[in-house]
């Protein structure tokens, strides 16, 4: 098995190394990827079109908004599938772990978490809202927000975290995130534009066309953040307890 697997590995390796001589040089500004009119347009016109200083956010949420919407849907479907696979797969109360430590939640750890979790959540909102002017955005902010709930589940136990953010609410928030994203797209369709054509939102927002795109991007990022937060926490909650939703790690 191991010897036989070397054959495709070396075949693929030989082909890739053979192709590597045709790749552009490291950091060449004239390389096909960097010299293409598409990326030149993104770099040159983002400031004029959307007034967003961070080009990555602008391309992510506006120019390629359709793509990002369905990536979010993929994350949502993955969370749903994990739920469907692990729900009721084992009986509650049956423990089959190799080593189980029945310990009280530690005093120092829980107090420190009590101190740190609000800061982490505020930082998550900061990352989400400042995605326009600095690195960040919906995906990163959502992941940090989900990590704060995972931290609660790690330091107390899963019930404490689920009392704050139950699984039903989790899936509700995840679905609401996608609804926010698609809703902004459909709303701009009703206003006369195309799907996810944020510039049409100027008719309901008291700003210019460019600033309408700027603010619609924030709404879209909030939707992405909601979905990612909920799905990351649902993944952890289901995988750490085999779908039983009880007990610590």
């Amino acid at each position: 098995m191991k010897a036989a697997s070397m054959v495709p590995v070396f075949l693929v390796g030989f082909l890739l190394v053979f192709a590597a001589t045709d790749f552009p040089e490291w950091g060449n500004p004239q390389s096909p990827a960097s010299d293409s009119p598409v990326s030149s347009h993104f770099i040159g016109k983002t400031g004029v079109d959307t007034e967003v200083p961070n080009m990555v956010t602008a391309v992510l949420a506006d120019y390629r908004g359709f793509d990002t919407m369905f990536e979010t849907v993929v994350v949502f479907i993955a969370g749903m599938a994990v739920l469907a696979i692990l729900k009721n797969s084992v009986k509650k109360g049956s423990v089959r772990r190799d080593h189980e430590v029945d310990a009280e939640p530690d005093l120092i750890v829980t107090n420190m978490v009590r101190l740190i979790v609000p800061v982490i959540q505020i930082f998550a909102f900061y990352v989400l809202a400042h995605g326009h002017v600095s690195p960040g955005g919906g995906f990163q902010g959502g992941v940090i927000m989900g990590a704060s709930f995972i931290l609660i589940a790690l330091s107390w136990d899963l019930e404490t975290a689920l009392a704050r953010f139950s699984l039903n609410r989790c899936m509700g928030v995840a679905a609401a995130g996608i609804l926010i994203y698609a809703g902004i797209g459909i709303f701009s369709m009703f206003l006369g534009g195309e799907f996810l054509d944020y510039a049409e939102l100027e008719r309901v927002l008291p700003v210019s066309r460019e600033m309408a795109r700027y603010h619609a991007m924030l709404g879209v990022e909030i939707g992405v953040g909601c979905t990612v937060t909920a799905i990351m926490f649902a993944l952890y909650a289901n995988l750490s307890s085999e779908g039983k939703l009880e007990g610590g790690l």
């Binding site: 040089e25 490291w26 950091g27 961070n54 990555v56 956010t57 772990r97 190799d98 690195p135 960040g136 955005g137 995906f139 990163q140 992941v143 940090i144 989900g146 990590a147 995972i150 790690l154 990351m232 993944l235 952890y236 995988l239 750490s240 307890s241 085999e242 790690l249």
Partner: protein, 82 residues
């Protein structure tokens, strides 16, 4: 030379981390070494100028995926046969 020394050093560390993550028998060790791999990758991307990607990798690859892997391995057998 097309590539800077710093990048080459981190790339070699990456290869070492990937090999160690796949070589060790203890699956929790493998998960933690995979977290190290993700952090090295994040450092490399930050150095390349892809700050958004580096941020995402630091939050997702080194944070969530390590936690999820450890949480799963806790419910499985910890030892691996190879």
């Amino acid at each position: 030379m097309g590539l800077e020394l710093f990048n080459t050093f981190i790339l070699l560390l990456l290869v070492a981390a990937a090999l160690v993550a796949l070589k060790v028998r203890d699956l929790i060790t493998a998960s933690v070494v995979f977290g190290i791999y993700s952090f090295l990758m994040c450092l490399l991307w930050a150095e390349m100028g892809a700050v958004d990607v580096a941020f995402t990798e630091a939050a997702v690859g080194a944070g969530i995926s390590t936690v999820v892997l450890v949480a799963t391995v806790f419910n499985l057998k910890r030892k691996s046969s190879d």
